[in-house]
């Protein structure tokens, strides 16, 4: 669909591309992952999405009012919803209500609007929100549910709501019964005692991951969404390929030297590696823009992710890796300008 645009200056026609369409496609691409996540962990996932979105959109509206900027175009561009969705699926599925709400609001206020709103934020807002919560509320942020079929009686919608609002679990259920250590947690604790990770744990859900191989479905759902974005040309291949490639290469190298390090398959299918590669590191606003720059940016995220996972203080590292590379993005862009037509390379 070609549309005619404002007649200030040529061109006078415009292609079908639009910010809200881009955002809607990203949301669409995340739906399979949300569905599988819900199937694995129950209602807490959807509750998180609703609460983060509320926090994000309310914060966006309020700040825009304070800044005397038009509210409706900014909210209908759906960028706040994308931020909220990415943050929500990074949170533990059973959380008190204020955790996701604060996360959403913090991400929008501090990581987006205070920098000037859409397009001006140097850091990925969803990752800032995640890191802020992780540092401020470490207990709540690391209490991960075991997938529903491992829990004695899965929590229904009412029980989830009750826990989220009042912090109370149904009688006879303890939090310990519902939660489990994640494979990346295990990897961290076991490398020290030189116990190789069982590949059984390789298939793991997001950010923390859990110990059942059918969580592979979650990773497949994310991968399919990512491939959809590639096919729709919403994202380019440079960042995912560079990031996953670097991560896999480093993992392979260390695995070959010392087999107590898990192999490339484990790293790629664990935690938020795929989500990061296709949905987070590809955020255009806070990333590098030139083609070579995107390759460098993705490779940097891969290196940091491997380093922090292997030797850092946190089990997963995608958020920190992306934020670290966000800082480097302007410099990367400056040094990776393409050779302009009619110029010789040396300049």
């Amino acid at each position: 669909m070609t549309t005619f645009t404002t007649p200030v200056s040529s061109p006078h026609i415009h292609g079908p591309n639009h910010v809200s369409r881009v955002m809607a496609e990203v949301i669409f691409a995340l739906l399979p992952a949300v569905a599988v996540y819900h199937w694995l962990f129950g209602w807490g996932v959807l509750l998180n999405i609703v609460l983060v979105t509320l926090g994000a959109v309310i914060a966006e509206g309020l700040i825009l009012r304070l800044r005397r900027r038009p509210v409706v175009p900014a909210i209908t561009d759906l960028s706040a919803v994308v931020t909220a969705l990415l943050l929500a699926i990074a949170l533990p599925p059973l959380a008190p209500w204020w955790l996701p709400f604060i996360g959403g609001a913090f991400a929008i206020i501090f990581a987006k609007q205070l920098y000037g709103g859409l397009g001006y934020n140097p850091f990925n807002p969803a990752m800032i929100g995640y890191v802020a919560l992780l540092i401020s509320f470490p207990v709540e942020m690391t209490t991960w549910l075991a997938p529903s079929y491992l829990q004695p009686p899965p929590l229904d919608l009412m029980a989830t709501l009750t826990y989220a609002l009042q912090g109370a679990l149904p009688p006879g259920i303890t939090l310990d019964a519902l939660t489990a250590a994640t494979p990346l947690d295990l990897q961290r604790t076991r490398i020290g005692v030189e116990q190789p990770i069982d590949l059984q744990h390789a298939a793991t859900p997001l950010f923390a991951g859990n110990s059942h191989s059918s969580a592979l479905w979650l990773q497949l759902a994310i991968l399919s969404g990512g491939l959809w974005l590639l096919w729709r040309r919403i994202i380019s291949w440079h960042v995912p390929v560079a990031m996953l490639g670097t991560l896999a290469l480093l993992a392979l190298l260390f695995h070959l030297i010392d087999s107590s390090y898990p192999g490339p398959l484990f790293h790629i299918s664990s935690g938020a590696a795929l989500l990061g590669a296709f949905f987070i590191a590809t955020d255009p606003v806070s990333g590098a823009t030139s083609e070579r720059g995107r390759l460098l940016f993705g490779a940097g995220v891969g290196v940091f992710a491997f380093v922090i996972r292997s030797w850092g203080g946190y089990p997963d590292a995608i958020a920190f890796s992306v934020l670290l590379m966000n800082m480097a993005a302007p410099t990367i862009d400056y040094y990776t300008q393409p050779r302009v037509y009619g110029h010789v390379r040396s300049d």
Binding site: S10, G15, V19, R294, V340
Partner: protein, 544 residues
């Protein structure tokens, strides 16, 4: 027959090019207008100089304004009539400014001036050919309007390796070149051969986008009929905007790049539009100057889109009526990607007008902020970073925009077309370019003023220094007077000189007391005696 082609970076594929609206019907002659307006500036370079006066009778094809300088082109009367005015009129420029124009009131007879008999171009030498082409007022008809004869001069510097005839016509909606290639392939080929001869080019390529199969077939047939020797080669190129841009076309056909700030000639290449070739053929083989052209009139606000052969100078309003154009709407000259908004419908068609595009009034939507998605950089055929240019242009950081090679931008509009935030990117670049030009003009003026000021300061300083030096010399001379040894000699010399002077003066002028008669002497003595005895005389009292 298939030739290796190179890709160019980026570009866009427009879903629907709307060329079928106007390219299916034959070109019709537009009726003779009552009044023709011929701006003196229809080309790049100096405006032409009128050589007729108001009230003069002119014939069709008669030169009415001559080229003024080397980079300039003459203008001819498109029909017979009377010069009714030479005055500022609205011209087809987005500024809305007026430009000097010659206005002809048509007499309806459309009488030709006597045309020179044609001669075989091969009997002329290239310099003569160029002169005839210049005198026919031919300029690039693809849009730039550069005087064509200049681009037919290989010069001493470089040999022309390849002559390219541009029949790409990559902009959506426009189809006048398409119709010309279908209807007058022989004229294009004839012109191409003349140009090839003038340039002594090694090879000559006619490039047409593959979305014009009829034009390709017509040219192929004509080549088969006329060009048995195979002097020319028809090259079918993939349809992709802006492959018709000179630099992109050169890249597609030869894989070469025109150096930044340079000309195609620097790469051994010369490019001409197919319509220019056809007008060269008309000028050389038929003695007809450039007084008419094919023009597409189309757009969503036009009910009878098509192509017309129109006289240069025809007011656009009359042509829009011909095509059933709506009263409302935005009139563009050119295509939707690079076309220019016309300030009014009273402006005339000029040599470079290829399309009138009438757009319906469109609602204006405010753009979103840039999300740095980088689509603009993916489609930029020059491999610029349009969003960086945008940020710096917005911040008026004109040094930075030049670091990002603003002046290599060809303003094709691909970046703005794909921008999800719908930012008017090209508008920002034009703004930055004109601001930089203005700054440079100011800087030049300031430099000149500073230079003058500096020179004045220097002159004053020099004068003061000279004055001081003179004073010092004088002081030194006076000081030297008191020096004893030299001084006595000097004093003696001065005394001697004074004595000499006195003697000279005495010798030269006798006093009136010399040579007195006895009576005079007696009178003087008597007076002297009285004076000695008399009381001293008191001065008279002042009466007041």
């Amino acid at each position: 027959m298939s030739r290796k082609l190179w890709p160019f970076h980026g570009g866009i594929h427009v879903d629907n090019d709307y060329k079928a609206l106007s390219n299916t019907t034959p070109v019709q002659p537009a009726p003779l207008p009552a009044e023709l307006i011929l701006p003196l500036q229809q080309h790049i370079g100096a405006p032409a100089k009128p050589i007729v006066a108001v009230g003069d009778q002119v014939l069709k094809g008669q030169m009415i304004a001559a080229a003024d300088g080397f980079v300039s082109a003459p203008i001819h009367a498109p029909t017979s009539g009377v010069i009714s005015a030479i005055e500022p009129r609205p011209i087809p420029h987005s500024s809305g400014l007026m430009g000097n124009a010659i206005v002809i009131r048509s007499d309806g007879a459309d009488r030709w001036i006597e045309r020179p008999t044609s001669s075989d171009y091969r009997s002329l030498d290239p310099a003569q050919l160029r002169e005839q082409i210049r005198d026919a007022g031919i300029v690039g008809l693809g849009g730039a309007g550069f005087p064509s004869f200049i681009k037919l001069n290989p010069g001493a510097r470089t040999a022309v390796d390849t002559l390219i005839l541009n029949g790409a016509e990559c902009e959506p909606w426009i189809s006048c070149d398409d119709r010309l290639m279908r209807e007058q392939p022989q004229a294009i080929i004839g012109g191409a051969r003349i140009m090839r001869y003038a340039l002594q080019a090694r090879e000559t390529l006619i490039a047409v986008e593959d979305n014009k199969p009829e034009a390709i077939a017509a040219l192929r047939q004509a080549l088969h009929d006329v060009d048995a020797a195979g002097e020319l080669e028809l090259v079918v190129i993939p349809t992709r905007y802006p492959t018709g841009g000179e630099k992109q076309l050169i890249q597609v056909l030869t894989g070469r790049e025109v150096p930044s700030g340079g000309l195609p000639l620097d790469a051994g290449i010369v490019c001409h539009n197919v319509a220019t070739a056809a007008s060269v053929e008309r000028a050389i083989n038929h003695g007809e100057p450039l007084i008419s052209r094919y023009l597409t009139i189309t757009g969503p606000a036009v009910t009878k889109p098509g192509n017309w052969e129109v006289l240069i100078g025809t007011p656009m309003a009359e042509l829009l009526r011909l095509a059933g154009g709506a009263e409302e709407g935005q009139l563009l000259q050119g295509g939707p990607m690079m076309g220019v908004v016309m300030p009014s419908r009273a402006v005339p068609v000029v040599k470079t007008s290829n399309c009138l595009l009438l757009l319906p009034p469109a609602p204006t939507t405010p753009p979103h902020p840039c999300i740095r998605c980088g689509r603009c950089a993916e489609v930029c055929p020059v491999k610029l970073l349009p969003q960086q240019l945008y940020w710096h242009a917005r911040a008026k950081d004109f040094d930075k925009v030049q670091d990002y090679h603003l002046f290599d931008c060809i303003e094709c509009g691909c970046c703005a077309y794909v921008c999800p935030s719908q930012l008017p990117l090209v508008h920002y670049y034009r703004f930055a370019k004109s601001a930089i030009w203005a700054q440079e003009r100011e800087k030049r003026a300031a430099d000149l003023a500073r230079q003058r000021h500096d020179q004045q300061q220097q002159r004053r300083a020099r004068e003061q220094a000279e004055k001081a030096a003179r004073a010092a010399k004088k002081r030194a001379a006076l000081a030297a007077d008191s020096d004893d040894a030299a001084a006595t000699a000097k004093k003696a010399a001065i005394a001697a000189a004074l004595a000499r002077a006195k003697a000279k003066r005495a010798a030269a002028t006798p006093e009136n007391t010399d040579n007195l008669t006895a009576a005079q002497q007696a009178a003087i003595d008597a007076v002297d005696a009285r004076r000695r005895t008399a009381q001293p005389v008191t001065p008279p009292q002042d009466p007041t």
